[in-house]
């Protein structure tokens, strides 16, 4: 593991984490998070992980059951929203930092039974780090939630509606009839955005090992079968990566 062991992981203020994410994440955007970890090496901040409540809690709740076969509580899930590291950090830093944060969550918030995360196989990757960190792959689906407009601007579906509608999206398309009270699908049709080509992969990590995942667990080979392989924004199969 080398120097990755020397990384110190601490909870840091949201403001610091958000600034780092805006600066270094490929999307340049932050999402609603409640727990922010900073990863320090040589006394400097070089990585951030942000966790928050899942966007679709009702769906998530059905993915996990406790040892008695009951659904987990509404707050029994947390979503790993953003994970950003710069290249200063050595190999294996990501999996080590995820591991440390999971241990800290288990210690400080024992009611959190599982972590969910989505891998963006349209612009980023198919979740190499999650697989290396013991997450289960539970879904691969053709992307619908990341939309792109004719100018190449990318929007998440949740930012296309409601109270948190993205200002630039709203202002650009309000003359066409986009409204905050419309569903995102309705606004998509009005604005004429289309989904980015690629896939979204859903991963789940069980913090409480007595719980069980109720949705099918997919073998990682499914990624190549479906053609969802992506690494650092380039389409590439898992098989070809092993050969490289």
């Amino acid at each position: 593991m080398g120097r990755a062991k020397e990384i110190i992981v601490k909870v840091i203020p949201a403001k610091i984490a958000n600034e780092f994410v805006k600066k270094h994440h490929y999307s340049g955007k932050v999402v609603n998070s409640q727990l922010h970890f900073g990863c320090f090496l040589d006394g400097k901040l070089h990585g951030v992980l942000q966790y928050g409540p899942p966007m679709k809690k009702m769906h998530m709740q059905k993915y996990i059951q406790d040892k008695n076969g009951n659904d987990v509580d509404w707050n029994g899930f947390i979503e790993l929203n953003r994970m950003v590291f710069n290249d200063y950090l050595p190999k294996y830093s990501e999996s080590r930092c995820i591991s440390v944060t999971l241990k800290k969550i288990k210690m400080n918030a024992p009611h959190v039974k599982a972590v969910i995360s989505f891998s963006d196989g349209t612009q980023c990757g198919d979740g190499t780090i999650y697989r290396a960190s013991g997450f289960y792959l539970t879904d691969i689906k053709k992307n619908q939630s990341l939309q792109i407009d004719s100018d190449g601007v990318v929007y998440s579906n949740m930012s296309m509606t409601g109270k948190y509608i993205r200002r630039d999206f709203y202002e650009k398309f309000m003359h066409k009839g986009v409204k905050t009270c419309h569903s995102w699908q309705r606004n998509r049709d009005i604005a004429g955005t289309r989904p980015i080509d690629g896939f979204q992969l859903r991963y789940i990590y069980l913090i409480d090992k007595t719980c069980k995942i109720t949705v099918p667990i997919l073998p990682f080979s499914k990624i190549d079968e479906i053609g969802a392989g992506m690494y650092k924004g380039e389409k590439i199969t898992l098989a070809n990566r092993k050969q490289a």
Binding site: I8, K10, V11, I12, P13, I16, F20, K23, H24, Q34, L35, G38, F40, G43, K44, L45, H46, P53, K56, K57, M58, D73, W74, N75, I78, N86, D87, Y88, K104, I105, N108, A109, H111, V112, T161, G162, K179, T180, C181, H182, S183, W184, Q185, R186
Partner: protein, 195 residues
């Protein structure tokens, strides 16, 4: 470009920028370490010797004990002077942070005044935290007291909106209560009008 007595150069009282103490100290040190830079990046002044570009540097030069400073005098309209003050400080490019991390020395970058990687000592960190617990559903009921006439108006509005195309496409966030969804849509439409 010419070199003139520092006492003749006047700071711009309308300068819209400021510098924090720590950064100012770095700027002073930077001038001491690399004074030649001032000759290729002179202070820009108008004919009245008021600084248009380089207010911080002038202050740092005074602090560093310089007697003379290189200046570039410009003869521009008031409008152009104001435009320059802003444009001179706008950075159009972006830093490639991965490139900086890989091929530049972070200690040097910091000495040179670039906020690269934040010091752990400057960040408030902790190992302890809490997260919301409990089995709270993401739905809630709200109760209001209304006059009979008010209640009738609201009921009618809810019924009306349910018959519209807008209602068919409204964001429900998983809520299956039709009255709740209709009320939300009414409020959002009101909010939309206020935008």
């Amino acid at each position: 470009m010419e070199s003139i007595a520092i006492s003749k150069v006047r700071p711009n009282s309308e300068n819209p920028r400021y510098i924090k103490d720590e950064k100012f100290k770095k700027l002073v040190q930077s001038l001491r370490d690399f004074p030649e830079m001032a000759n290729v990046r002179p202070i820009v002044v108008n004919k009245e010797m008021v600084v248009l570009g380089g207010n911080m540097r002038l202050k740092a030069m005074q602090e560093a004990g310089w007697k003379e400073v290189p200046v570039q005098v410009v003869d521009w309209s008031e409008e152009k002077q104001r435009e320059f003050i802003i444009k001179d400080n706008v950075g159009f490019g972006e830093w490639d942070w991965d490139e900086l991390a890989n091929t530049w020395n972070s200690v040097e970058l910091e000495d040179w005044g670039l906020d690269s990687w934040q010091n752990m000592d400057d960040i408030e960190t902790t190992d302890e935290f809490t997260l919301p617990s409990g089995d709270k559903e993401p739905f809630q009921q709200m109760t209001f007291t209304l006059a009979d006439e008010q209640a009738t108006v609201i009921k009618n509005a809810i019924d009306d909106i349910k018959g519209t195309e807008e209602y068919k496409y409204a964001e429900t966030m998983g809520n299956e209560n039709s009255n709740g969804n209709a009320l939300y849509l009414i409020v959002m439409q009101w909010a939309e009008q206020r935008r």
